[in-house]
């Protein structure tokens, strides 16, 4: 086995531990509990106007004519804009995709409607009601076109083409080939073939919809943006060239954000539109998305179809790998795509020691809402598929599903483990995690219950094992498009000692409920040897704080690594400065300074000491007392950029270390299935997580709960369904049935703590989870259906779908050939 080489990391774990690792209650909570939070819609500006987007009712239509004159004539309407006007006022957005999808010309509003909900015009008016009423007066003459709503069909050259300039619906196509799958298929004792697996569309629908308040200040040229966007620096990079605005003029800020889960990552078309209408009207433009608008157009998770899956298996149960074709449905525009076409390969073999993998990957555009990252972005689809493979191998070849997993898992002694495509799994104990998960659900008891049975009910036990790969190497974008100028990752933070001895931290992250204010204070308190309550951490990304790099934001399970290590680095710099000043004031060597309890003192003589307020005083307001060489070299305002140790992946071989850390989730559940109705009831649910060193265990557990809740809801209830004509059939919360407190069972959790050797603090990102519940629930349904039932081939299983499976209705064929 090849042993991976990763840059040596200087661990800072020994400097943490007084407050790091403890379940401190969050400091954010007080304002949120008292109704004193400040979310985007709570923010106002003088003279602001309300914006309403006019959205196409058609999934695919040319716009023959668009006339805003009746809306313009309405008193109280400040401005209207159409796509044609946008095209005159800005440049098209730059593209991540290579040719031919790079030819897509996209403006903040659409010149042609490509999905139901595509924004074709906008109105800004004195009130929300008026903006909406005025939008109804805009006359649009649509020429409806045939729609394509299936990713596989969209690849067919005979299908309707969304973007004529591309010439087809291909967003990206390529082959990922590692090891020697043909050899494996020829030499395996068994080959299991699965006709089709389908991972459905859903989204995490943060409770706060998207929103932005944008003021293009014509006096200064500054564009002030209050927005709950999750990845402001990506938006800055896209919007700057498009709007012709300097980076220092794009000023993002917000305080509180009502959830993100990846869904709020791609808001830049709306924000750009708001900026342009603000400039036109000379007023701040305010937009708060309606829920029905959010469901239609905010973005959905990637839908993926896997075809012709072949799995070589040896007689002893060793699974050699898999070969398949994947069709990913990007929806109508590539707002963050086609990054998903490579992101999945961070977890190419899943949790397993598969050596031979061949994936023929196609991403197409369809007349559906554009996709965005959604809690487990692009990997949960792939991980779900792998778990379906493993379960199917166990069933068809009569292996025990627990033993088969344990046998094929990456073993604890394998770490750091290099995958076939050069990713390095940092640490973990998958078999141990599985044992813990099984004990959470009383596995043996559940098997007994299953044997006993009860009239009209069936018991099923399911397992799902996944990875949450955190801290992307953005260099993987070059596997998609070698011309992209991206690689590595990082985050910035500043830690400052202020005039009266206050410690203040600014982060480049944009939290949406993960408790960054609390956890950053915990590590800073440890480094500076103060109380967490002495440290104030600014909430929300604010570009004017200059605590950012090009990657700044909150996404892809990385704060515990990038954000926290930036804060640690900045705090260590500040500590060094404090010690330097302290040594100068106390007239001793820096090595003799002890910093603790808000006081720098001479080792062994606590009387010879200076408190932090004194240190601050001599730097801020009393610097004549300092020797010039000290005064000139300290600022007490320390910025640090954390950079993970990455190299640029090889676009030719599609190999490289694509992510820094791999948190592990192993879930297990027991369900009861009603034979008459197909309804599934969860009797037991256990989740085990291993995210390395935990900064605040209670917050980690909260993230596990949330990710598990989303996964359970997606597996059983939440699915976006489009009609063949491209109409979204559940564009509201009546019909898009988000989980309530009655839908999520009691969750039992446990953990393993395998510190990452690749991060200074030993932590791994873990916020997304790996979509483990989708695998777990499907596995349990399959188990409950019994030995001869058809394959659970879809990630979403409504009661009706289960009912059909119970009646033997097959939607995907499984075939086994043995030597």
């Amino acid at each position: 086995m090849t042993r991976a080489v990763v840059e040596t990391i200087e661990s800072v774990e020994h400097e943490l531990g007084r407050y790091t690792g403890r379940s401190l209650p969050r400091t954010e909570d007080r304002r949120l509990l008292k109704g004193q939070g400040q979310f985007v819609d709570d923010t106002w500006m003088f003279r602001q106007g309300y914006v309403h987007f006019l959205r196409s009712p058609h999934a695919h239509a040319n716009i023959r004519r668009i006339d805003t004159s009746k809306a313009d004539a309405l008193p109280g309407v400040y401005a209207t804009m159409t796509a044609a006007e946008m095209a005159e006022r800005c440049e098209p957005f730059f593209r991540i995709a290579p040719d031919p999808a790079a030819r897509i010309v996209e403006y903040p509003l659409a010149l042609k409607a490509r999905y139901e909900g595509d924004a074709v015009a906008m109105v800004m008016a004195e009130t929300r009601e008026l903006a909406r009423s005025a939008a109804e007066l805009i006359e649009v003459e649509y020429e409806p076109l045939p729609a394509v709503v299936d990713a596989v069909e969209a690849a067919d050259p005979r299908s309707p083409v969304l973007h004529e300039e591309v010439g087809s619906n291909l967003a990206w196509q390529g082959i990922y080939d590692y090891g020697d799958i043909d050899w494996a298929l020829e030499n395996a004792d068994h080959v299991v073939r699965i006709e089709r697996l389908h991972f459905h569309r859903f989204s995490s629908t943060p409770l706060e919809c998207q929103g932005a308040l944008v003021n293009w200040d014509l006096g200064t040229g500054q564009v002030e943006i209050v927005s709950n966007i999750q990845f402001p620096m990506f938006a800055s990079q896209v919007m700057g060239p498009s709007l012709g605005v300097r980076q220092d003029q794009l000023l993002w800020r917000y305080q509180d954000s009502g959830g993100g889960f990846g869904n709020k990552i791609a808001m830049y078309p709306q924000v750009a539109a708001l900026a342009l209408i603000s400039r036109k009207a000379g007023r701040p433009a305010k937009w708060t998305e309606y829920r029905s608008e959010n469901l239609l157009s905010c973005g959905m998770g990637n839908e993926r179809t896997f075809l012709d899956i072949e799995v070589p298996v040896m007689a002893d149960g060793t699974i050699l790998g898999f070969k398949l074709r994947a069709f990913d449905d990007a929806g109508a525009y590539l707002h963050y795509e086609p990054l998903g076409a490579v992101i999945w390969s961070q977890v190419t073999p899943g949790c397993y020691r598969f050596k031979h993998v061949h994936v023929d990957y196609t991403e197409t555009m369809t007349n559906k809402c554009p996709t965005v990252p959604n809690r487990g972005y692009s990997r949960l689809q792939h991980l779900w598929m792998i778990e379906r493979i493993v379960d199917t191998v166990a069933r068809r070849l009569d292996f025990d599903p627990v033993q088969l997993r344990k046998q094929n898992y990456v073993q604890p002694e394998d770490y750091p483990y290099e995958t076939p495509n050069g990713c390095v799994y940092d640490s973990g104990d998958l078999p141990g995690a599985l044992d813990k998960a099984l004990s959470l659900i009383d596995y043996d008891g559940a098997r007994e219950l299953q044997k006993r049975g009860s009239a009209g009910k069936r018991i099923g036990i399911g397992i799902g094992s996944t990875l949450d790969s955190g801290t992307n190497n953005f260099g993987q974008a070059r596997i998609i498009n070698p011309d992209l100028p991206f690689s590595g990752n990082g985050e910035a933070a500043t830690v400052k000692l202020d005039l009266y001895g206050e410690i203040y931290c600014t982060l480049g992250t944009s939290p949406t409920g993960q408790g960054h204010e609390t956890t950053a204070a915990q590590v800073i308190a440890d480094i500076l040897r103060v109380e967490p309550g002495d440290v104030r951490v600014n909430a929300g990304f604010n570009k004017e704080h200059s605590a950012y790099v090009g990657f700044s934001g909150t996404y892809a399970s990385q704060f515990a690594v990038t954000g926290i290590n930036a804060a640690i680095g900045a705090a260590r710099r500040l500590r060094a400065e404090i010690i330097k000043v302290g040594a100068a004031v106390l007239g001793c060597e820096e090595a003799d300074i002890v910093l603790d309890g808000g006081v720098a003192s001479y080792r062994g003589d606590s009387e010879r000491a200076i408190p932090l307020i004194g240190i601050a005083n001599v730097v801020y307001a009393n610097n004549a007392v300092l020797p010039p060489e000290i005064a000139d070299s300290v600022s007490l305002n320390c910025r640090y950029v954390y950079r993970p140790p990455f190299q640029v992946p090889d676009p030719e071989t599609k190999r490289g270390n694509l992510t820094l850390t791999y948190a592990i989730q192993v879930h297990a559940c027991v369900i009861e299935l009603d034979e008459e109705t197909g309804q599934v009831r969860i009797l037991q649910y256990g989740a085990v997580d291993d995210c390395g060193r935990r900064i605040n265990p209670q917050i980690v557990e909260g993230q596990v709960h949330g990710a598990t809740g989303h996964g359970i809801a997606a597996a059983l209830h939440e699915a976006f369904n489009y009609s063949p004509e491209g109409q979204l059939l559940n564009a509201n919360f009546y019909d898009y049935r988000v989980a309530t407190a009655l839908d999520i069972p009691e969750l039992k959790t446990d953990h393993i703590e395998s510190p990452s050797p690749f991060t200074p603090n030993g932590a791994k990102g873990m916020g997304e989870g790996g979509g483990a519940p989708l695998a777990t629930i499907c596995s349990a349904i399959q188990d409950a259906l019994g030995p001869d039932a058809p394959l659970v081939s879809d990630s979403h299983n409504s009661s009706e779908r289960v009912w059909r499976l119970l009646r033997g209705q097959e939607s995907s064929h499984v075939d086994v050939s043995s030597r």
């Binding site: 059939l729 989980a739 309530t740």
Partner: protein, 284 residues
């Protein structure tokens, strides 16, 4: 989502309410607003006048008569029904069904009259009111008239209440020896969207008699099943006998397909809930 502009009135008597409702073709009564306001927000329908009847005392009481029959004012909320001790005694199923509607907030505002008048196929009360042979008291320009629940529900958002009329109260006959069963297959948890729902009211005296069986949530208005009722008459009240009587029940029923379920599944579930409701009714 925002409403179009409209007018609002809060009359102080039912007579005045009816007059207000007669003043415009687009006037509608507003009680709890838990359906109407959402529809107006989405601008799927327009009203030019909302007549707020939610505070009319004449519509706000639950009266249980000495004989056990019940009169429920149209503007009584689900929460009030759920928490009415006298109703729990006289007609426990009415209180129980009210307590299972939507969620606590909706139950605090939503009214039984609204539930009836919108005749939403997924609504909880229509099949129960038909099974219990309730009478709907409607006030119009010509005074009061009474319509049986069975004739009241015409289809989605369509009832016997004509433009310019107001549902005043619902009269439910005394329970007497009736057993009442109620069963639903929902999209998710117990209180969520119904895919098929049934209600059965019957007497058991060794054998079943006087059965009224109603199925709903499949397509339009609740549907009574007279052939099944006939088969039940004189039948032994055992789960096996009931299962046999309900065999192949779904096939003949009209059902819609939508994002939650196909018509085929709804029909099959109708057979399940009908059987379950009848079995429950025989057990109490």
């Amino acid at each position: 989502m925002l409403l179009r502009s409209l007018e609002y009135e809060r009359p102080t008597s039912t007579q005045a309410a009816v007059e207000a409702l007669r003043s415009s073709r687009r006037a509608r009564a507003l009680a709890g607003g838990q359906s109407l306001i959402n529809v107006l927000k989405h601008r799927l329908a327009e009203c030019d006048l909302l007549v707020d009847i939610s505070r009319l005392e004449e519509l706000r009481s639950i009266d249980v008569a000495v004989d056990g029959s019940v009169r429920i004012g149209a503007a009584v909320t689900y929460d009030e029904l759920d928490n009415s001790a006298s109703l729990r005694g006289a007609h426990p199923k009415l209180a129980e069904v009210a307590g299972g509607i939507a969620d606590q907030q909706v139950r605090c505002r939503g009214t039984i009259g609204g539930n009836a008048c919108y005749s939403d196929p997924a609504s909880n009360f229509p099949p129960l009111l038909v099974a219990l042979d309730a009478k709907m008291e409607i006030l119009g320009a010509d005074g009061l008239r009474s319509v049986s629940a069975e004739e009241f529900f015409h289809g989605p958002f369509d009832t016997a209440v004509r433009p310019g009329e107001l549902l005043i109260a619902i009269h439910v006959p005394a329970r007497g020896e009736l057993g009442v069963g109620y069963s639903t297959v929902t999209v998710a948890d117990a209180d969520s969207w119904a895919l098929a729902r049934a209600c059965a009211a019957l007497k058991v005296n060794g054998t079943i008699s006087g059965a009224r069986v109603v199925v709903s949530a499949l397509a339009g208005a609740p549907v009574r099943l007279p052939e099944l009722e006939e088969r039940l008459s004189g039948l032994e009240a055992s789960p096996e006998a009931i299962r046999e009587a309900c065999a192949n029940l779904g096939a003949g029923l009209a059902a819609v397909s939508d994002v939650h379920a196909s018509a085929e599944y709804r029909r099959e579930m109708a057979a399940v809930v009908v059987r379950r409701a009848i079995v429950e009714a025989t057990e109490r």
